[in-house]
Subunit: 367 residues, 2 copies
């Protein structure tokens, strides 16, 4: 039996557990704490920045993958030197770890990205803002997630502190009509599959809703998004699941916002919406077994995140007839914390979205 | 968080693991061996006939349920005396544990069963055979499963050994056109739901295929089967999933063959076929949270068991486009052993059955 080791014990590792069982794959997780979301399969507790802990965990696993992108390059290099296969490969992961590197690589592939620049001084920041009509988006190159490390700015003063720590990525404020996510999976042997493009809703930089497929998407949009995803996966040699966050601009272009080389919040909608979920597919890709069908199970699927608390007591308030699927991340309650999600599927978009939102709201009301 | 303890570490316990994670329920399993199918959640290793092992396991769980029906009544009584809720209740479980008791109880409920009799002597057996045209079905009252403890007989000589051990259940040889299974779930609070009736195919007493819903089922058949299931669940106070194995006779009657008070092989088809699988539903029922929708996700779903070996190497032979779902029980290879199942779903019955059979055959060819 293949043994897959996952570095990081968050909800992404947690949601791999069920598919691993059904596939007959042994999953082992290196978790940060005893009370991690993926504690059921945490075979080791340790810091992913601790090279000894990571190397010790790698003994006896057939392949290593990741719950998050924050593993330091030095640790990745040491791990790679042991010869255990890493998916995604460190070189691909590096692209997702550094937003400036990512912009350069996407430029090299000739792919559409927002107008961007790297700035190291206040003067460079203010110059860029001036070229963009007085406002811009600033991003720290490393370590950001869920809206952290991203700021809308009108002056270098807004990010004075960031500039003390190193270069900053600057981008135009994209005039977008909505955000999309293109999920892709690629095996080491090269097979690549795409799901239909997903519409996402963010609040304060945090994904809160996803709809599969993106409503009112033209065939051109669907094809273009899939082509972008495939080009990136192949261009960077991604192995595992890749999520490409996209802007659909008001003038009907697609621009690449971010990349994640792992299952992604937007892709949670595939758990109930698709023949093969992003978590099962990630395991298949990482284990290099044939990828599953990415067809949708029903016409529409909607996913709504739950924040704060998802106590099982509240399940009693959800009518069975609402036919939603609950996904609990097993986390302690904390205001604003992403603790689970709810999905609905069906033939009518409005009905599907309404059912998922209504169920999620029952939990949100508890905090 | 609710903690559910499962006595027995077979594939039924294994297939509860994924749903437990998504529901945010902590599952703990008392497994027979270190290498049980449900080893991922085996928090204790012990013999289910050892009252001390079982009582020790019960400490710290909120509710106890079962992977199989073989727990001795003395152990059940001791467990019940501790006050930890048992689902199903020992009185209900007793009905599934003893086929003669089951026949009596079903008679009392006025439900349709094959002509039956209890025999303790060779003369009683031969008398019954004479009333049934020279042949009968004999069953040991306790401990049978997957065709074991069942024999087609024409003389008391065929079961001379069984008669030495105690009474035997005798039944008419039912002239049936096919076998069906009615799945039901009932909460302690009384809510009861039924899935559409399932068609099953047995070979040598072992379930090999299931189709949801049963093809060419009239509305009357569907309603009658659901009514039978509901009547039994309510009449016996079943809590959790109940499977009612049925004969559809050549003269269009339904006769109750067997009862199982747990998820059942026929119900594996609900994992991919239904909004709520039998495993998720069993956990919901046992935890007394609202039951999920039993609607089908697609028009047809088919399940085919895999026997012998389900090595992951064979996954490479299954085309992604076949869009089947694999369920591996994590068991060592052994000729004839039930080691997994494969499901397919879709709009066309023939296509769905063909895809599931073709994928299962890839594994069967390996042994």
């Amino acid at each position: 039996m293949t043994v897959i080791g996952v570095i990081g014990g968050g909800q992404l590792a947690r949601m791999m557990i069920g598919p691993a069982i059904e596939l007959g794959i042994e999953l082992r997780v290196l978790a940060e704490t005893e009370f991690s979301s993926a504690r059921d399969r945490a075979t080791a507790i340790g810091d992913y920045r601790d090279v000894d802990a990571v190397l010790d965990f790698a003994k006896g696993v057939d392949v290593i993958t990741f719950d998050h992108e924050h593993i330091p390059p030095t640790v990745l290099a040491a791990l790679d030197a042991t010869g255990v296969p890493l998916h995604p490969r460190p070189a691909a992961l590096a692209v997702a770890q550094d937003k400036i590197h990512m912009r350069r690589v996407l430029d090299d592939l000739g792919l559409p990205v927002p107008i961007w620049s790297m700035a190291e001084t206040a003067a460079e920041v203010d110059d860029f803002i001036a070229t963009q009509g007085g406002r811009a988006i600033a991003k720290t190159p490393r370590g950001g997630y869920d809206g952290k490390g991203v700021a809308a700015i009108t002056s270098s003063n807004d990010i004075a502190e960031w500039l003390n720590s190193g270069p900053v990525l600057l981008e135009e404020c994209v005039d977008f009509s909505r955000e999309l996510a293109q999920l892709v999976a690629r095996r080491p042997s090269g097979d690549t599959v795409t799901w239909p493009v997903i519409a996402t809703i963010q609040a304060d930089g945090v994904c809160t809703e996803a709809v599969l497929p993106a409503p009112k998407a033209s065939q051109r949009l669907i094809d273009d998004a899939a082509h972008l995803g495939r080009t990136i996966a192949e261009g960077l040699g991604v192995t595992g699941v890749l999520a490409v966050e996209l802007f659909e601009t008001t003038d009907d272009r697609l621009l690449i916002n971010e990349l994640a080389m792992r299952p992604h919040n937007s892709g949670h909608v595939t758990m109930d919406g698709s023949v093969t979920s992003q978590f099962e597919q990630h395991l298949r890709a990482v284990a290099d077994i044939p990828l599953g069908s990415t067809d949708s199970r029903n016409i529409w699927a909607a996913m709504v995140n739950v924040f704060g608390a998802m106590d099982t007591d509240r399940y009693r308030l959800i009518e069975a007839s609402s036919a939603v699927k609950l996904h609990n991340y097993g986390k302690d309650a904390r205001p604003g914390r992403k603790v689970g999600h709810v999905s609905a599927t069906g033939d009518e978009l409005d009905d599907v979205v309404h059912r998922a939102r209504a169920a999620a709201a029952i939990f949100s009301q508890s905090k």
